[in-house]
Symmetry: C2
Subunit: 167 residues, 2 copies
Amino acid sequence: MSFVNESNPTDALRAVFRRHASGVSVITMNDNAGAPVGFTATSMTSLGANPPLASFNVASGASSWSAMNTADYVAIHTLGVENIELAKKMAAAHELRFADDDWTRGAHNLPIFSDASAILIAKVREIHSVESNAVVIVEIQEGLIGDEADALIYHQRAYKATGATLE
Amino acid sequence: MSFVNESNPTDALRAVFRRHASGVSVITMNDNAGAPVGFTATSMTSLGANPPLASFNVASGASSWSAMNTADYVAIHTLGVENIELAKKMAAAHELRFADDDWTRGAHNLPIFSDASAILIAKVREIHSVESNAVVIVEIQEGLIGDEADALIYHQRAYKATGATLE
């Protein structure tokens, strides 16, 4: 393969992440007043199984940031291909994210979207701010496991299905 | 959807991450003696574009850990479906990872697999240890951008292609 050198580091990051695929999650919590807050995340990943930890990233300019910074618990929803509308809604105008009848209250009064393929209830453990973003580290408390689902992918700025298994 | 409650938190994490898909990267560096070290990662994600940052996770029991803990620079390779053998090799026996002729030396003397779809050269900025894992935060310096490629996915403990675009 022949490469094009991209010496501008921001342009390099953007070009490379267009080639990188991510799974899609929705993370919810409550703000100080108990109102539901949430967002679509493509950064959620495991950070070890013993103890069970996960991490995800949040921009400190995001509408969810002040709630994230004070929340004790979050619900992490893993999305399947049938959840594409939920993924879009939770990445769009924040005042419409909880306007529909598709959520209820679960453990720790957390907002729960019960169409997700699986949900983790987790305690916020550490938040590391780095420039205008933060890495949030949470410890899993319990899970709500739905049926096996074809995972929803974000790639080249589009939502996609998971493709064929490769050998 | 009806959920099964999984009250064991480690089992909950495992069940949920089987439903979660990830993009696949290979991260390389040099150890203290200048020998190449690298591993397959499914945790690599963007942490903002200004300045351009990325993060990934490493287990402190991993064969790459001591090199990771001292490395100043890393090369992050984004993998396409044609790189499945590289993904498998860099997740298998560490003494075989650089045994083939598929790598060269690049910027900062970093090991470079030139079959990857794109490569970021990055400076290690922070390492946050959490239990037996660590979150590594790096700042992008430049990129090597290959042709557009169908991204390689890891899902349900298997490598998969990226599927159809959804509307």
